[in-house]
């Protein structure tokens, strides 16, 4: 089996920065990533897209090319198209690539698995034509494909970014249906001091909103009762705003109300997680270096708690420095000297978060959907089903699997886990931490017997 000093999982900003910092400190680093080209979701396919459509995607996106360029270090083995499905203590990481299983071992692991869209279960959200706003971003970045007749619904800065990019590409959205209220913005005001340290984000947000306004895209705020209508595909979005009902015919609905850590890999290694009230999600418990409760396992980037792409980059480098020190490549003094400016920069990048979290809270009705709304997309379990399980004594998400298969489909709970936790916590009058989350077991991505049979497992090289 191939042996390295460090395995980094995920080639987004955190993973790419971690790999280049680690290689710089002399660690033999293997960077495993599912996608054919590096960048993660935020810088998806940046090396190709920069030249083709950089003017639509903007300067912040193009920054990703500086990170991909640093992967050409001889100390980094970047393995694209590697779908990781098991991480064993020790550490041995099993993955599938080009239809074959393979394994690699290392003394340290940095999980840089990023974020997922917060599930936004509203009536009709399983219809073809309904996608996450992040999906629209990926379509634009990787493929140069944009929806022609789209309505954007939910809350958060990503909606403004994709709307502005659609305006630049010549296909402005039909409308922005936003769920946050004026009261949310007033409540967020007490975090404005911190936000001003991150003024760059506020300035960018205002600039995006001006672009959207100039293009004449209608904006509705404080929207409630959002539902996607259609027989076998999305045909319209219905909602209430400003005291009356609205209905906008459209071909595509893009949903977004924030992103949450992708917990699958960390949970599969029994890394302890706690509920974050501010970010309304679970996040792994970790120290300032990104060290988790599992010896030798680090977490960096949005997977460690949502901080955005630049903060992810700093946290990746910080974790790599600590790993290098633990493996004897840096002294404690060298580690601290190199980490000090990174810790300061990371703090500056995350200063805006409390303001954003308060100004753009999750859409309340999607956290506690109507009984008839499907919440587990794979097994088509409704919110009412989960509430009825609670009445029968179901205490937590793992029991919910036995009661009605919630979370047992191919997505393994990625798009229902937080909703199931929230519904059970509320029905049983218990906290999110007491209610817990699905127990995630390997394989965290499907693997076939054929892939295992074709495994290239060479004898240990050293």
């Amino acid at each position: 089996m191939q042996k390295a000093d460090l395995i980094v999982i995920g080639a987004g900003p955190a993973g790419m920065a971690a790999a280049s910092e680690a290689a710089g400190a002399g660690l033999r680093t293997v960077l495993l990533d599912e996608q054919p080209r590096p960048g993660g979701q935020i810088y998806r396919d940046v090396d190709r897209a920069a030249g083709l459509r950089g003017s639509i995607l903007g300067a912040d996106y193009l920054h990703g090319a500086a990170l991909t360029a640093r992967l050409r270090s001889p100390g980094i083995e970047h393995v694209p198209g590697a779908v990781v499905w098991m991480i064993e203590q020790g550490f041995q990481v099993s993955y599938t690539r080009e239809g074959r299983a393979a394994r690699v071992a290392a003394d340290r692991v940095i999980l840089a698995t990023g974020a997922l869209e917060r599930p936004m279960p509203v009536p009709g959200w399983t219809l073809p034509g309904v996608m996450t706003a992040g999906a629209a971003q990926i379509l634009l970045k990787q493929s140069g494909v944009l929806p022609r007749q789209a309505v954007l619904a939910g809350s958060g800065p990503l909606l403004y970014l994709i709307a502005a990019q659609m305006v630049r590409a010549g296909t402005p959205p039909l409308a922005l249906v936003e769920t946050q209220t004026r009261a949310d913005m007033i409540r967020a005001g007490r975090h404005l001091g911190g936000a001003l340290r991150g003024w760059r984000y506020l300035a960018k947000g205002l600039k995006l909103m001006a672009e959207i306004r100039r293009a004449g895209v209608p904006r509705y705020t404080g929207a409630t009762a959002i539902a996607v209508e259609g027989e076998d595909r999305a045909e319209a979005v219905a909602f209430e705003s400003g005291g009356r009902g609205h209905r906008i015919a459209c071909g595509t609905v893009l949903l977004h109300h924030g992103v949450v850590p992708n917990q699958q890999a960390a949970r599969s290694m029994q890394v302890p997680h706690l509920w974050s009230q501010a970010q309304q999600c679970f996040a792994p418990v970790a120290d300032a270096w990104g060290r988790t409760g599992r010896e030798g396992v680090f977490t960096a980037g949005d997977g460690a708690g949502i901080g955005g792409a630049r903060a992810a980059e700093y946290s990746g480098r910080i974790a790599a420095l600590k790993a290098a020190e633990e493996l004897g490549r840096l002294t404690v003094q060298e580690r601290d000297r190199l980490a000090a400016p990174l810790l300061r920069q990371k703090a500056r990048e995350t200063a805006v978060r409390p303001f954003l979290d308060a100004a753009y809270p999750p859409y309340a009705e999607a956290l506690a959907p109507d009984d008839a709304t499907i919440i587990c997309r794979c097994e088509e379990v409704t919110a009412g089903d989960i509430r009825s399980f609670a009445r029968l004594g179901c205490q937590g998400p793992n029991q919910a699997k036995a009661f009605g298969r919630a979370g047992m489909g191919p997505c393994q709970g990625r798009y229902c886990g937080l909703t199931v936790t929230g519904l059970l916590a509320s029905a049983n009058g218990r906290s999110k931490d007491e209610t817990g989350y699905y127990r995630i077991r390997p394989p965290i991505k499907p693997v076939t017997l054929g892939e295992l049979a074709g495994a290239q497992d060479t004898p240990a090289e050293d």
């Binding site: 599912e34 399983t126 992040g134 493929s143 022609r148 991505k445």
Partner: protein
């Protein structure tokens, strides 16, 4: 197949022929398969095994499994595949879906 695509493609690229559900389609060579099928006007990628409800790509990042298709003898995520000349793609679980409806 369908030309009423709800999607706009910014760039033209050399195309190759693939088959989706028995119909020939000309898709950009090497493109992301899910994106290329959407741009070609494909609305329904599969039907769920539970109720037979239609589904199409939702997350585009390999997490939701709603874009599952059958190709090369396996059920795979279209958003994690690239278009190749001569590819044959089918909707998976059609028999199961028909059973669920019946």
């Amino acid at each position: 197949m369908k030309t009423d695509s709800p999607f706009l493609e910014l760039e033209a690229a050399p195309r190759v022929r693939v088959w989706f559900d028995g119909q020939p389609l000309e898709l950009p060579d090497g493109a992301n398969l899910a994106a290329a099928l959407l741009a070609a006007g494909v609305r329904t990628f599969r039907h769920t095994p539970v109720s037979g409800a239609p589904r199409a790509p939702f997350c585009m990042m390999g997490a939701c499994y709603d874009c599952l298709v059958e190709t090369g003898g396996r059920v795979q995520q279209a958003c994690m595949l690239e278009v190749k000349d001569g590819m044959r793609i089918a909707r998976p679980h059609e028999a199961e879906a028909a059973h669920a409806e019946g």
